[in-house]
């Protein structure tokens, strides 16, 4: 606990001092006290919770669909040599097209709407996920599959009992990558398209020249992602992958 929050204390202190001393102009830089005050006000007025829930809803809708499409699709492609050959270059190419670059055409198709944003988020999740799953399945050691078959496992059991657990680290990695891109795409979309949400809040504050709102938005985002990573994604990895001694990504900074 101390180790996690400890380092932030001096940073906050330095921040406070820098703001008090007035190194930077007040319209570009505010200190912790101003931020906290504004934060309280936004909460009290219900503005921040509302924006937050808007952002969240968009994100999780997209993530849900992304997982529902990406995981099955990933495994289907991974298990068929022909499917892999035919789709792998396409997967790589579409992954290469930065998700945000889809925003303009998606706006042409769906207008400035939730559908547009959801589409982009689903896109950001599906491709890294599929790519991760396909390479994860490929990397399941051949001996494990042979061992299962020589112990009487049929094709279906090999899939459920060997391939899926074996590819689990890759699935976790894919989800983590996808989420990292996903929420970024969301913020960008909210800035460009938005009428609500954290991204919109930050840009709106910027437009009004109120840097406090920008700071709050960034801190909230950072804390949320950090919490998601530390409270959900990392424990999941620990509970499965590390417990099984298959550490794939000990700690890749993302």
């Amino acid at each position: 606990m101390v180790r996690t929050f400890g380092p932030f204390i001096p940073v906050v202190l330095i921040w406070w001092v820098v703001a008090e001393v007035g190194v930077f102009p007040a319209d570009l830089f505010v200190g912790p006290r101003t931020v906290i005050a504004e934060f309280d006000e936004l909460i009290a007025k219900g503005i921040l919770p509302a924006y937050l829930s808007d952002s969240f809803t968009r994100l999780w809708t997209g993530v849900l669909f992304g997982l529902l499409i990406g995981i099955p699709a990933g495994f289907i492609v991974a298990m068929s040599r022909w499917a892999r050959r035919l789709t792998w270059p396409l997967l790589l190419f579409f992954q290469a097209i930065a998700d945000i670059a889809w925003l303009p055409i998606v706006i042409v198709w769906f207008g400035f709407s939730l559908t547009a944003v959801t589409f982009v988020i689903v896109y950001t999740i599906v491709f890294p996920l599929m790519i991760s799953i396909v390479s994860g399945v490929e990397e399941v050691p051949r001996d494990l599959i042979r061992a299962a078959r020589s112990l009487g496992a049929g094709r279906l059991r090999v899939f459920t009992d060997v391939i899926v657990p074996g590819a689990l680290p890759a699935v976790a990695t894919g989800i983590r990558t996808g989420l990292g891109y996903g929420w970024r795409a969301l913020i960008a979309a909210e800035i460009i398209v938005g009428t609500s949400g954290i991204g919109f809040m930050m840009f709106d504050a910027r437009r009004a020249g109120v840097v406090t709102g920008v700071f709050i938005g960034m801190i909230v985002l950072g804390v949320l992602w950090y919490a998601l990573d530390a409270l959900i994604l990392a424990p999941f990895e620990r509970g499965t992958i590390e417990r099984w001694g298959m550490v794939r990504t000990a700690e890749v900074g993302r």
Binding site: D143, R146, A147, A148, R149, S150, L151, G152, V162, G245
Partner: protein, 266 residues
């Protein structure tokens, strides 16, 4: 009817790099009777692992027949359990989970399969480790788990592919002693691939000595050692030394023609 019959086995494949046809196995024939421990010995690259893979059902031979219990081999089956050099333990399953795997596949209900698994864990000396995960075990223990996992299915023949190559020398000696004890207690039928002459002579009832690629059976040597066997006694036994020397001389001529390990595609 022998437990395992290999008749004029031949295996050719096309080298992906040079696009030539390589003959890994030339013409191999031998049989293994029930309850026998047979070592298949040969220099690196002679195709002995290929033969094991064919018997296991992982690869298909070019020509020749392989019969287990009178039936042709058509694919992997718990009848021919395999102990791998790389252990191939399921890292996400506990020790117990690994041992019951085959029983689960066959639909043996939990009530029955756990006692069976326990029995084999005790046989290999892993009792008390049921809840551990493979990566928590030492190399030697992991391999013993691999043996237990196969034996729990009571296969017609246990195929072992250089199973002790990945452990250190001292552990290897201990495992060889342990394997011999297990064999003498249970008498499974064992097909054991190795390139280590001393290991082959110590463990086996008979040693099938293969030539280099394209391999053929040079000779099948019956090991004149009595059972029960222990390393301590073997090392001092003149019969043992004589058998090892005999086979060593037989293979010495072939050594210079052995194929380097990293081109071995068996």
């Amino acid at each position: 009817m022998s437990t395992l019959e290999i008749s004029h086995l031949r295996m050719e494949y096309v080298d992906a790099y040079t696009e030539e046809t390589v003959t890994a196995v030339g013409d191999v024939s031998f049989t293994i009777e029930e309850g026998e421990f047979v070592a298949v010995l040969g220099p690196s690259g002679c195709g002995k692992t290929t033969i094991l893979n064919i018997v296991a059902g992982f690869q298909k031979q070019t020509s020749g027949t392989v019969r287990v219990g009178g039936k042709d081999v058509t694919g992997p089956s718990p009848e021919r359990g395999v102990v791998f050099q790389s252990f191939a333990l399921f890292p996400w399953k506990t020790v117990l989970g690994n041992v019951v795997f085959g029983l689960r596949m066959r639909g043996v209900p939990r009530r029955e399969r756990e006692p069976i698994a326990q029995r084999y864990l005790e046989l290999v000396g892993l009792e008390g480790f049921e809840r551990k995960f493979p990566h928590e075990l030492s190399g030697g223990m992991q391999q013993r788990l691999g043996v237990a996992r196969v034996l729990a299915n009571e296969p017609a023949v246990m195929l072992m592919d250089e199973p002790f190559a990945s452990v250190d020398a001292q552990t290897r000696r201990k495992l060889q002693d342990d394997l011999t004890a297990i064999f003498e207690a249970n008498h499974p039928t064992v097909f054991f691939v190795t390139h280590d002459i001393e290991e082959a002579v110590f463990l086996a009832d008979r040693v099938v000595v293969l030539s280099t690629r394209p391999s053929q059976v040079k000779e099948i040597v019956t090991v004149p050692l009595e059972r029960p066997r222990h390393w301590r006694h073997a090392l001092e036994s003149p019969d043992y030394r004589r058998a090892v020397t005999y086979i060593t001389d037989m293979l010495a001529g072939d050594e210079s023609r052995a194929i380097p390990a990293d081109l071995d595609t068996t």
